[in-house]
């Protein structure tokens, strides 16, 4: 049974494609903390598997060997009340195992939790919202949402990313299994975590602490890029929103509707913080924290009827006439 699912999972473990995968298996780590945990977990698994095999075979043996056979006479078996040596033995051995387990865990706890960061480590402040992620890069002074971009730590160069975890409303939890264990985002409490990805690619994860109606669709993805691509991305994000005259109409709609109270678009009067920053909306692959691909008809649908994509999200349906709708979507599409 345990053996069964251990085998299956280790089977999956081997089956894992090397590199980031859409299946966020904890047995396919690609970042320093995830690796430390991975090694510990293999150690613990093997200990537990051994204990299981030993004790399980004892049970099975006893259950079969000492079953009542029809051939038996009906007199009672010898009455044994206990044996101090044996009982002592199976008290002491588990104690030793427990000590080992404790030391192993303590080592990794220390390695991951008390890690020191170089002063130039990249800082990100992740804030959990119902039901989306806000990522702020204090050093670079810009804000984005739902898709966290970080540089890779490859060929000898180590670029750990230090993430401050806050919450704007309820508890959430930051979990990208291939990069690190989860850490909760809790209102008026400062939590921290860190990652150090070794491979370029997109890593998926999602909110792992129940936070309300749409906890299920509070996905997030971490885009690990080469340092050069990362810098390029940073430069794009720092730039204010593009202002092409073709979409001036859409911009007017945005600024004259409630949108501006909840969303920020740098360079316009819209500076709300309740919803994701839309300055570079089109630089993201998905909308509504991974609920749908970021393309024209999804955007239109989202603005018309958010519940169609993400029932229970906190963005109200905006009753706009078709003209405004088209203009607005055109404007959103222009936010490269």
């Amino acid at each position: 049974m345990l053996a069964a699912f251990l085998l299956t999972s280790s089977g999956l473990l081997l089956a894992q494609p090397a590199g980031p995968s859409p299946i966020p298996s904890i047995f396919d780590p690609h970042s320093t903390p995830a690796h430390d945990i991975y090694h510990l977990s293999l150690f613990v698994l093997s200990i537990c598997a051994t204990i299981f095999l030993v004790v399980f075979s004892l049970i099975v043996y006893a259950a079969f060997k000492y079953r009542h056979r029809p051939s038996d006479d009906d007199c009672e078996p010898p009455q044994i009340y206990g044996s101090n040596q044996v009982e002592l033995a199976w008290t002491v051995i588990p104690i030793l195992i427990v000590v080992v387990l404790f030391l192993a865990s303590a080592r990794v706890i220390h390695a991951v939790e008390d890690a020191q960061f170089p002063p130039d480590a990249i800082q990100v402040t992740a804030t959990g919202h119902q039901f989306w992620w806000e990522f702020e890069y204090p050093k670079y002074g810009f804000v984005t949402a739902n898709e966290l971009h970080v540089p890779v730590s490859a060929n000898g160069q180590s670029l750990p990313i230090h993430i401050m975890l806050l919450s704007a409303d309820t508890d959430h939890s930051f979990w990208v299994p291939q990069l690190a264990g989860k850490t909760d985002l809790i209102p008026n409490r400062r939590n921290e975590t860190w990652i150090e990805p070794h491979e370029v690619g997109i890593y998926v994860g999602q909110c792992a602490q129940y936070c309300g109606t749409q906890h299920a669709k509070m996905l997030l993805s971490v885009v690990v890029q080469s340092p050069e691509d990362f810098q390029r991305w940073v430069q794009e994000q720092k730039a204010p929103a593009v202002m092409s005259p073709q979409v001036a109409e859409g911009r007017r709609v945005f600024e004259t509707n409630a949108c501006m109270n909840c969303h920020t678009i740098t360079g316009t009067i819209a500076n709300g913080r309740f919803g994701p920053d839309l300055t570079h909306l089109m630089s993201r692959k998905t909308i509504a924290s991974g609920a749908a691909p970021n393309d024209e008809q999804n955007l239109r649908l989202w603005v018309k009827e958010p519940d169609a994509i993400k029932p229970g999200s906190l963005m109200p349906a905006m009753q706009l006439n078709d003209h405004d709708q088209d203009a607005l979507v055109a404007y959103l599409m222009s936010l490269q």
Partner: protein, 562 residues
């Protein structure tokens, strides 16, 4: 052997069959009763009903999760389903079931005529009933009584600030709070009652060191109820103060702390799981010896281990909070205390094996369930150990691996042990044997269903599937596992159906049991089946842990060896 002389002149009095009296009067008797046996049975029936209700909620959840992007239920409904499922199963299915056993068996086993405080006993039962009714009333009254109401959707541990009035409008959460509060008072009453009974009403000669293990383990359980359930009561009161008087205990806007609720809840929550599992251990410790035809192996160390579990379990609660960013020292401490619990628990497992060792094991359905219990609890405990390694938990926590872990303990351990208890004591309670054929059907269907569901539930957890999500995307590779998990439920349902059939069928058609069908050794088998209202015509006197053994084997009685 079965026809050996009991300690006392055999009972001639048999309670008049209830069928012969008008229905209304029978009903009235049950409602006003203060008899520990009747109350025990009512606890049991109550527990079964809620097990089915909670099970149906679970079945709906599984149907929703069977395939990716399913639209069977809305997210709101799903959140209510798992909240109600968890709350129902823990507080209104599992606890009544174990309390039922304690109520029925403890007085019989210590040779008393009733609980120490029979009226308090009835009060406790009805309190827990009202608790359940209040909770379920929320389906209609949740948003205030104006038509559309609905159940709480905050999760069974109701983390702050989701329960604050700003995030949980309407009254649904209040029904959750008050329902648990009320039933909590009942539980504390029961605990007080059982403890007093064990301390004061033991029959002559029954020293603490001669108490049946079942009584010992229930005593420790009830102690845990006293010290662990009360903190929950306190926390619930604070939450009410927040919601109704504008207090700030857990109000994060006004400097309140979300984390302190977690501490308060789990200070209750972890001991709670041992409150549920110790009575299961208790049942197993009675059934295994009788069917292995040997005394329990290492009685003293069993008792010591029980007490040890009781105390250690009070110091491990924060293993539910490894991911909230505690200091490395705090985490390390809770790793130590949590894994330490595996030592006394292991002792129990080994002692049960030691009891079977060298015996002549008779495999009636009760014993089958005990063997299944051993294997499954072993596995469940080991997955617990994996979770107890904090860094491993940073990955596994709040994933389906945890859900699998605790269902493994609860169904593979507790529920299976309860089933064993049902097959073992049903003859005593009704005077009829349960049908072994139906029983075997129940056993195999349920065991197969259990393993289909909960073995495979671990895997999506390892593949990063969080709990409490109403749907997921096909690209994540969780689909196939969830499908298998859901299929297993069908078998479990069938299993339960067979149990219910067996209970009803045997009541009318079952073979008569006699006083002592299993040739057992504890006092309850020394009175008629079902026992008369006053249990024993004459208070028995015992000289050893197995009074009926002494009686049946005057040539070498137990007390020579104790």
């Amino acid at each position: 052997m079965a026809d050996a002389q009991p300690i006392l002149p055999p009972m001639i009095i048999s309670p008049e069959r209830e069928g012969t009296r008008p229905m209304v009067q029978v009903l009235h008797d049950w409602i006003v009763t203060v008899d520990h046996k009747k109350l025990g049975l009512m606890y049991f029936g109550y527990g079964i009903i809620f097990l089915v209700i909670g099970g149906i909620e679970a079945a709906i959840m599984r149907a929703q999760l069977a395939v990716a992007n399913n639209h069977l239920v809305s997210p709101e409904t799903f959140n209510r389903l798992f909240t109600m499922h968890g709350t129902t199963m823990i507080f209104f299915a599992a606890m009544p079931l174990v309390f039922g056993f304690a109520n029925y068996l403890v007085p019989l086993m210590v040779g008393a005529r009733d609980m120490a405080f029979p009226r308090l006993n009835a009060w406790s039962f009805w309190m827990s009933v009202f608790g359940g009714l209040i909770l379920y009333f929320s389906w209609v009254g949740g948003f205030g009584l104006y038509g559309a109401g609905s159940a709480p959707d905050v999760g069974w541990f109701a983390y702050a600030p989701l329960t604050a009035s700003s995030f949980s409008v309407g009254h649904s959460t209040d029904y959750w709070i008050i329902g648990i509060l009320v039933s909590g008072f009942g539980s504390i009453g029961t605990a007080l009652n059982v403890l007093t009974t064990t301390f004061c009403l033991r029959c002559p000669g029954m020293t603490l060191r001669r108490m049946p293990l079942l009584v010992w383990m229930n005593a420790v359980t009830m102690f845990l109820v006293l010290v662990a359930l009360s903190p929950l009561t306190a926390a619930q009161v604070m939450l009410l103060i927040d919601r109704y008087l504008g207090g700030h205990f857990f109000d994060t806007q006004a400097g309140g702390s979300a984390v302190i609720w977690m501490h308060f809840f789990w200070i209750f929550g972890h001991p709670e799981v041992y409150i549920l599992v110790l009575p299961a251990f208790a049942i197993v410790s009675e059934v295994i010896p009788v069917f292995s035809r040997k005394p329990i192996f290492g009685y003293n160390i069993m008792v010591a281990a029980t007490v040890a579990i009781g105390f250690i379990s009070l110091s491990v609660w924060a293993h539910h909070m490894f991911t909230i960013g505690m200091t490395s020292y705090a985490n390390a401490f809770f790793v130590a205390s949590t894994s330490a619990i595996s030592v006394p628990t292991g002792i129990k497992i080994f002692n049960w094996i030691g009891t079977m060792w060298g015996g002549k094991i008779r495999y009636s359905v009760a014993m089958l369930f005990c063997v299944a219990f051993l294997c499954q609890f072993l596995i469940a405990g080991l997955t617990g150990i994996m979770l107890a390694a904090a860094p491993f938990d940073w990955q596994l926590g709040n994933s389906y691996f945890v859900v699998a872990h605790f269902h493994y303990v609860i169904l593979g351990g507790i529920v299976m042990a309860i089933f064993a208890g049902v097959y073992y004591w049903y003859p005593k309670v009704t005077g009829k044997m349960l049908s072994e054929t139906l029983g075997k059907w129940h056993f195999w269907l349920f065991v197969i269903g259990f393993h289909l569901t909960f073995d495979f539930m671990h895997i999506p957890g390892l593949l990063g599937m969080p709990r409490r999500i109403y749907t997921y995307d096909a690209s994540r590779g969780w689909e196939i596992w969830n499908l298998i998990v859901s299929i297993g439920v069908i078998f479990q349902i069938l299993g339960i159906v067979f149990l219910v059939l067996d209970l009803i069928w045997s009541y009318f058609k079952g073979a008569p049991a006699g006083n002592d069908p299993w040739d057992a050794w504890t006092l309850e088998w020394n009175t008629t089946s079902p026992p008369p209202d006053y249990n024993f015509a004459e208070i028995p006197v015992v000289l050893s842990r197995r009074p009926l053994w002494d009686l049946k084997h005057p040539e070498d009685p137990d007390w020579k060896y104790e």
